[in-house]
């Protein structure tokens, strides 16, 4: 590809989850040429969540996949273009940032990184070996394979509880292994109690997972430790929801500063350590990992990017910027 053929855009957004889609609604409505790159699923983790109950505006909750499709439809209605592919590197060329992508090199005046996060692995023996053959991270994708079968779910946060409840549609019984105590919201804990009372879910607190065991390519049990004693849970499959890791592997070796866990550091205007590159949503250091806050950060980032593109966001010191003529929307 010659340099003359390299696509140029005002804004390229890396990721097409709630933060990027919300940002795209705002930038495209301002006629800012916007391209989104998505390597996974449009809507991000929201799209693979069974039910979203805490996103404002939906009194009865909304299915994650439906919410994701609505966000996508809204952004596309205003002209956002979503390309299915991957950005592998970002470099600073002054007024433009160069993105190496699976569709070739591209240039953007501003970049929004909104790549979100993925479910964390627990790193025990058997987890990798039985991946997709008994070990899973997506209940809405793989739960249907466990009709009338026994399951183990590992985790004690909102996702673990929400997805355990979803999996009761299929499974005959679920053992929920929680390393310490349940951290899910009170609402979810009350909902969980109904399934515990019905005998569909058994909660095992203070239970660490040590190994996922199988034979003949099939998972047969989970071995753990509870109060110093070995415990075993016979099962046909395991679903793991033990926290999130940021999708920032593609930034390794770049000039964009990450925190000690790998989330992207930003200033008060959501700008990263590379001028003209912004971050929003779950991938940002300090994010609250909520769809509502990701959408809010996306909208905020879009308005700041507009100021940046118009030359109204000027550096005042290293890593400090001021909007010199704020423009309310």
């Amino acid at each position: 590809m010659s340099e003359a053929e390299v696509q140029k855009h005002d804004v390229i957004m890396i990721g097409a989850g709630p933060a990027a889609l919300a940002a795209a609604v705002y930038t495209t409505r301002e006629d800012i040429d916007t391209l989104l790159f998505e390597r996974g699923v449009v809507g991000g983790l929201a799209a693979i969540t069974d039910m979203v109950d805490n996103y404002p505006g939906f009194a009865e909750g909304i299915e994650g996949l439906t919410l994701a499709q609505n966000l996508q439809n809204q952004a596309e209605r205003f002209g956002a273009v979503i390309e299915l592919g991957e950005v592998t590197k970002i470099s600073d060329e002054g007024d433009y940032k160069r993105l190496e992508t699976t569709s070739g090199d591209m240039l953007a005046r501003a970049v929004l990184i909104a790549t979100g996060s993925d479910y964390k692995k627990i790193g025990v023996p058997g987890e990798k070996e039985y991946y997709a053959r008994g070990v899973h991270y997506c209940a809405t994708c793989d739960g249907a394979f466990y009709r009338d079968k026994k399951l183990v779910v590992i985790g004690g946060g909102n996702s673990a509880i929400q997805e355990s409840i979803f999996l009761t549609r299929f499974a005959s019984h679920i053992d929920l292994l929680v390393r310490s105590s349940i951290k899910a919201s009170d609402v979810l804990q009350k909902e969980l109690q109904k399934y515990v009372d019905d005998g569909k879910i058994t909660v095992h607190l203070n239970t660490a997972t040590d190994e996922i065991v199988g034979s003949d390519n099939v998972v047969t049990k989970v071995v753990g430790t509870k109060e110093g004693a070995k415990v075993e849970f016979e099962t046909d499959g395991v679903f793991i929801f033990v926290g999130l890791v940021p999708n920032t592997q593609f930034l390794a070796g770049s000039d964009i500063e990450l925190d000690e866990i790998g989330f992207i550091k930003t200033d008060k205007h959501l700008m990263t350590s590379m001028r003209g590159v912004f971050a929003a949503g779950d991938v940002r250091s300090g994010a609250t990992m909520q769809i509502a806050s990701a959408v809010g950060e996306g909208a905020t980032a879009a308005l700041i990017i507009r100021e940046y593109l118009e030359g109204k966001l000027v550096p005042t010191s290293e890593h400090a910027e001021e909007i010199i003529t704020p423009q309310p929307c």
Binding site: V41, I48, G85, H136, T140, C141, D142, A144, F145, Y146
Partner: protein, 82 residues
């Protein structure tokens, strides 16, 4: 261009929607086997893919050779249907 494409899906699978979105963007048609509606075909999906997951995309080429793509994997799906 493949001879035909079959996708095993479920109702709630977002990655299945992504496979269909990609194939649609490239002008392909496909047969969809929804395992929520046809649970008796789960064993077939498992036998083809070796995995308890969807989407499973089966691409039959013009020479009747077959490629099975497990999950939403553009690096494998794109060349398989090119």
């Amino acid at each position: 261009m493949p001879k035909n494409i079959t996708i095993f899906t479920t109702n709630t699978c977002a990655y299945c929607a992504m496979v269909k979105k990609y194939l649609s963007a490239k002008g392909h048609t496909w047969e969809e086997v929804n395992l929520d509606q046809n649970p008796e075909r789960q064993a077939e999906a498992l036998q083809l893919s070796g995995a308890l997951t969807v989407p499973v995309t089966v691409v039959t080429k013009q020479d009747d050779s077959r490629e099975v793509i497990v999950g939403y994997n553009l690096a494998k799906l794109a060349p398989a249907v090119a």
